[in-house]
């Protein structure tokens, strides 16, 4: 069966977006009072909740303590109702462990851990609804949560997936596109300096196309960072209004 036509002749994608268009990003910070920082982020139909605790003393095995910087502990999980098929998703399965590891690497590159030696920062992310781009939505939500927690970062970490169809890079893939056999690439970027925090790609791609793909991913990430920035500023305004400053 010839698969779905991911990019029509007129340049529309399945959901009516153009190739470089992102899904609608909506976010809220400070959704929980108990945690140190929290954020809720929707990117199209993918919804994620991120909660940050810390920095606090090391809990559990003290042997992991680093004497010069903080340890970042990430945990990724998916809600049982997050996909079309209800499924129990234990914490320790390979996929979520891998994802947790990726998140950890990403945030180790962004959070200024050296300010908190011998301490620990916990980032918990839960996917409430999954529609493609889980990793990038998690990163974006976690960024907001970290900011909400008041932990200094070098820059926002913005992530986006990019796929390659008909010699055209498609930004921010949805589930239908991801599962349609597109070779996709996930990239986390510190947009101001243009530093790449994480780059992940599992599919095959001709090396000639890699550069255009990364280029497109970076543009998309910068788009995301603008939205996040707005969210943060708005949140700040609201908070300062409440505290009466």
């Amino acid at each position: 069966m010839a698969g779905l036509e991911l990019l029509s002749d007129q340049g529309y994608r399945l959901d009516g977006r153009k190739a470089t268009e992102l899904r609608k990003v909506q976010a809220r910070m400070g959704v929980f009072a108990q945690a140190d920082g929290s954020a809720y982020l929707e990117q199209g139909n993918t919804k994620a909740l991120a909660v940050v605790y810390g920095p606090h003393e090391m809990r559990g095995s003290r042997s992991r303590t680093l004497h010069d910087r903080a340890v970042i502990n990430c945990q990724y999980s998916m809600a049982t109702f997050s996909t079309a098929e209800r499924k129990r998703r234990p914490h320790g399965d390979r996929k979520s462990t891998e994802m947790s590891l990726h998140l950890k690497q990403t945030f180790e590159a962004a959070v200024m851990t050296q300010l908190y030696p011998r301490s620990q920062i916990d980032i918990y992310v839960k996917i409430l609804q999954s529609d493609g781009g889980n990793y990038s939505v998690c990163v974006n939500a976690a960024t907001l949560a970290v900011i909400d927690a008041g932990i200094p970062m070098r820059d926002y970490v913005c992530a986006c997936t990019v796929g390659f169809v008909d010699e055209t890079p498609l930004a921010d893939l949805c589930y239908a596109e991801e599962s349609g056999g597109v070779s996709s690439l996930a990239l986390a970027l510190l947009p101001r300096g243009g530093q790449i925090a994480l780059l992940q790609m599992d599919a095959r791609l001709h090396q000639d196309h890699l550069e255009t793909l990364i280029e497109a991913a970076m543009t998309a990430c910068k788009g995301v960072s603008k939205v996040l920035d707005q969210v943060v500023r708005q949140h700040l305004e609201e908070v300062s209004m409440l505290t009466g400053e």
Binding site: M1, D9, Q10, Y12, G16
Partner: protein, 975 residues
């Protein structure tokens, strides 16, 4: 999603929702810029989108969407234009027609009646389509065929390897029972079951039509069957299993992935009394012209009017409850048997669409008329290298050639130490800008179509015959490749590519050039008016240039021969046309050395251009490759050669070329020719491709023994050359800037284009062959085979079958089967004097001969034996006529006249047909005023005939092929 079609005075929307999603054809129609259509993605537009309501049916919702898009568009145009939305849903008409002032919702029937009352063809088409739709609803349900599996199951089955995917290919000779599926083999199983799977019988074919992409299931080994190898005579000879070859993998179709239905030409059968009317007088089973297509049931009210006419139809559906597919008629071509109808049939059956050039296209053309002669643009002169004074440039072409696309020049430099060879090609891309309407039209046509009696140009005549044509004595733009060669070793010192302006000094033809080379006295028309002294000087200069050229070409040829270039024999004839497009002769390629010289220079130019563009654009250059043939296709050749004691080595192209050169029978030159012809048939097809999609070792051109090759030298008649010209221009520009430039088209676009050009070339070749056969049939049609001596000819046996032999009649270039056993089971034997008689007996087949035994006699036919055959025309009503060959003696035929050169027979053939046509036209002229000459003559000429049909001949030819897919490619004669 709705579609907006804009015509000049109204805009309307169509609820094309399902169609759009499924039909590539509609989408391609819309993409075609010449149709002035626009596709509007209303689902993605904020103001025209409306969400689906609860409980609303899909169709209702879509109609509402389209309506809201129409309203939006009306408002968008600020009410300046009224919108018509057409639908077939009466409810929708009632619901929406009164809602908004500017948007009219009407049914298709009303639309046609109100807006296009005089478009008769559209009304008929609508009537036939709606009739089909109505009948579909009322159809019964008893299943003639098994249901197809749902797509998910098919997909899962293909992935798991349970099912096989491939293209269905119906056998031409046993269309009823045999079909093959060519696998699109990624599956690892393909190695052990080969690449072809047999589908036997129409039950297991399960409604698939020739060309469809199907999914099939293999049957258990016990049910595998072999392929029938006997020559079947017509459809009556049903063979039982004993004639079958060893069992092939056999399967049955379980689903169809993609229908590949095109327009088919069918013939309405004559009424045969009342029984055809018994069930439903409006439904007719029409017989397609192509044997491989099943009969199509057509609902029409014009059945009587269409009797004996050839009609273009489309297949609409094939329900499992129906034995035949349903279709509707689209267009009437004309009465079967008329020449014009037959030629149109050939074009349509090959999907060739060549309307006259539109006004919009002609408006793009530069003007060159006596009042307003076209002049060279001074800006262009400055931008181009001027070769008008410095170089002696000449062209060598067939006599009477109008579209001269190549010219040559040669001169010695640096006191004779180096030679400068130049190939100058018409600069078509200067006139045909990329994306212009002319360009799009040329791309669609992809090539100029040469039929036996006419030609359909790729470019309008003002370009192909005049401004692009490098005629003698006038200034023309050209694209040149010039080599600086070492005078002795002919090593290339330097190559220059670029745009030039040239003036060709001599427009020679092959015979004249050869005469000059041979030192014969020949009259060069360009020199006729000069004084004798100057004339001699100029003549000497020209002859010198020709000699140098020949010298270079010989060397180049020798170099390629070392690499293993093949020289192959193709049955190629070319019609020569006069100004009124009448055929004056069919010219076979006379083997003059100067042909080879010119061809060699062109191959050289193509090769160097290929190198240049491939180096500059490693991933997006259009090249042409010729894959090495598959060894198993050589088996017939090897077998035949063994019969004569020759061994053919087919391992490499060099070995093959050498062994072919050795396989010469001094007594019979035809043997070598036939062997070369068989080699040609074993060849795979040379194809265009984009360099980005093949690996480097695939670039090799087997026939020419070159590592890279492309087509550069005939931009007037081939679109590929235009693409290559653009690439070369871009390459030169990139060189100037010093930066690696971007190619014009991406690899994917180029690959798509090369596929398109390849398929069009194949179609052109087939159409040319069919039209040649049409003329052969016309030639023999009026002759009484019993009395006319010209119907007797000498034939050579080149292949043995179970109940007959395949022969080649060199005099007319006809190949065909000769049956040694007829339907009554009688066999032919010969007496002492060579006379033949039919008696009951048996036929035995051996590898290199076949013998017939009757009560009193035994006759043996060996490979390469000469026999005498009688040629007659076998007419069938619904298909093409074919030539029938009948053996009358086992001795070579000696005509009463002296042996003629073989070519004359063929020239004679067409001349004869044309002469008859002219006689007929004289009679016509007495009555009527003058009209377009040829068509009238030909029509007149054909009317005396019984209905005629000729794809049988095609079939006959194909019998010789090991594999019907392999259309022989004549690669060595390419230039």
């Amino acid at each position: 999603m709705g579609s907006v079609f804009c015509s000049n005075h109204c805009v309307f929307l169509f609820p094309f929702v399902f169609l759009f999603r499924q039909s590539n054809r509609l989408r391609n129609l819309l993409k075609e810029p010449r149709h002035d259509c626009v596709l509007f993605a209303n689902e993605f537009q904020q103001y025209s989108f409306c969400p689906r309501e609860k409980g609303e049916s899909q169709e209702k919702w879509q109609t509402r969407c389209v309506y809201s898009a129409a309203v939006w568009y009306y408002n968008h145009l600020a009410g300046m234009m009224d919108i018509v939305m057409i639908t077939d849903d009466q409810e929708a008409v009632d619901q929406y027609s009164s809602l908004s002032s500017g948007v009219y919702v009407i049914t298709v029937r009303d639309y046609l009646q109100n807006f296009w009352p005089d478009l008769q063809a559209a009304h008929e088409l609508y009537a036939s389509v709606s009739q089909v739709l109505q009948e579909k609803e009322s159809e019964g349900k008893e299943g003639e065929y098994g249901e197809h599996l749902p797509p998910e199951v098919l997909e899962a089955g293909i992935k798991s390897g349970r099912y096989i995917q491939g293209t269905l290919n119906v056998s031409k000779h046993r269309a009823q029972t045999e079909a093959f599926v060519m696998m699109e083999g990624f599956s690892n199983k393909s190695s052990d079951i080969g690449c072809r799977v047999l589908v036997h019988g129409d039950k297991s074919r399960n409604r698939a039509v020739h060309g469809d992409v199907v999914v099939m299931e293999l049957l258990p080994k016990s049910e595998w069957r072999g392929k029938v190898t006997a020559l079947s005579e017509g459809q009556g000879a049903e063979k039982s299993g004993e004639d079958e070859s060893k069992p092939l993998p056999t399967g049955r179709v379980v689903g169809i992935l993609q229908r590949n239905w095109r327009d088919y030409v069918v013939t309405f059968p004559p009424r045969e009394g009342p029984q055809s009317q018994s069930r439903n007088s409006q439904r007719i089973l029409a017989v397609p012209w192509d044997y491989r297509i099943p009969k199509i049931r057509i609902s029409t009210q014009q059945a009587d009017a269409l009797q004996d006419h050839r009609v273009v139809v489309r297949i609409d559906s094939w329900e499992s409850s129906s034995l035949y597919p349903n279709g509707h008629s689209v267009r009437v071509l004309g009465r079967a048997g008329e020449l014009e109808t037959e030629v149109q049939t050939i074009l349509i059956e090959n999907s060739i669409h060549v309307p006259p050039f539109s006004d919009a296209q002609l408006r793009e053309m530069p003007v060159n008329s006596p009042e307003k002669p076209w002049k060279v643009d001074p800006a262009q002169v400055a931008a181009r290298r001027d070769l008008r004074e410095s170089h002696l440039i000449f062209s060598i072409d067939p006599k009477g050639c109008e579209d001269v696309d190549d010219t040559l020049s040669v001169r010695s430099l640096a006191g004779g130490k180096t030679l400068e060879l130049g190939v100058h090609i018409a600069d078509v891309t200067h006139f045909v800008k990329e994306g212009s309407i002319t360009d799009l039209e040329a791309r669609t046509r992809a090539t100029t179509y040469y039929l036996a009696d006419r030609r359909y140009d790729m470019l309008p005549a003002v370009l192909s015959g005049d401004l692009c044509s490098l005629l003698g004595g006038v200034d023309r733009y050209a694209m040149s490749v010039m080599w600086e060669l070492d005078a002795h070793t002919l090593a290339v010192n330097q190559v220059w590519y670029g745009r030039t302006i040239i003036r060709s000094s001599y427009q020679l033809h092959y015979e004249l050039a050869q005469a000059l080379l041979n030192g014969e006295q020949a009259e060069v028309p360009e020199l006729a008016r000069l004084g004798s002294e100057r004339k001699d000087d100029r003549l000497a200069e020209l002859t010198q240039a020709l000699e140098t050229l020949t010298h270079i070409a010989r060397q180049l040829r020798a170099q390629r021969d070392q690499g293993g270039a093949l020289e192959l024999e193709g049955v190629e004839v070319r019609a020569q046309l006069d100004e009124e497009k009448n055929i004056t002769a069919l010219v076979p390629r006379q083997p003059l050395e100067v042909h080879e010289t010119v061809a060699e220079c062109m191959i050289y130019a193509n090769h160097w251009v290929a190198r240049k563009i491939q180096e500059t654009f490693p991933h997006q250059a259009l090249l042409r490759h010729h894959p090495p043939p598959r060894q198993e296709f050589f088996s017939q050749l090897l077998e035949s050669a063994r019969a004569r004691g020759f061994t053919i080595d087919t391992i490499t192209n060099k070995a093959l070329a050498n062994s072919l050169d050795r396989a010469v029978d001094p007594e019979d030159p035809l043997v070598n020719r036939l062997l070369r012809m068989m080699t040609t048939q074993a060849m795979s097809e040379a194809l265009y491709f984009s360099t980005g999609s093949q690996s480097l070792d695939q670039f090799y051109h087997y026939g020419l023994a070159l590592d890279r090759y492309t087509h550069f030298t005939s931009p007037i008649r081939r679109y590929a050359d235009i693409v290559v010209h653009r690439l070369l221009t871009a390459a030169i520009a990139a060189e100037g800037e010093g930066a690696p430039g971007k190619g014009l088209a991406s690899n994917k676009e180029l690959e798509e284009m090369s596929r398109h050009i390849n398929s069009k070339n194949r179609a052109a070749k087939r159409a040319q062959k069919l039209s040649t056969e049409l003329f052969q049939c016309l030639f023999f049609k009026d002759r009484d085979p019993q009395t006319d001596l010209r119907c007797l000819a000498d034939a050579v046996i080149y292949s043995i079958r179970d109940d007959g032999v395949l022969v080649f009649v060199s005099e007319y270039g006809v190949k065909g089967p000769v049956y040694l056993k007829n339907r009554e089971g009688q066999v032919v034997t010969f007496g002492q004097d060579g006379s033949c008689e039919w008696q009951s007996g048996s036929v035995r087949r051996y590898p290199d001969h076949i013998s017939t035994t009757s009560a009193c006699n035994t006759s043996t036919f060996r490979l390469f034996n000469h026999i005498t055959v009688r040629i007659s025309v076998y007419s069938s009503h619904c298909h093409a006529d074919r030539l029938n060959l009948e053996v009358i003696s086992n001795k070579p035929y000696r005509s009463t006249e002296a042996q003629q050169p073989r070519s004359e027979g063929r020239c004679q053939l067409v001349q004869e047909v044309v002469r008859l046509a002219e006689e007929a036209s004289q009679q016509a002229q007495e009555k009527a005023a003058r009209g377009p000459k040829l068509s009238r003559e030909e029509r007149k000429f054909c009317q005396s005939k019984t209905p005629n049909l000729y794809s049988l001949l095609e079939e006959v030819r194909e019998l010789a092929l090991m594999d019907p897919e392999m259309i022989p490619q004549v690669c060595a004669t390419e230039e």
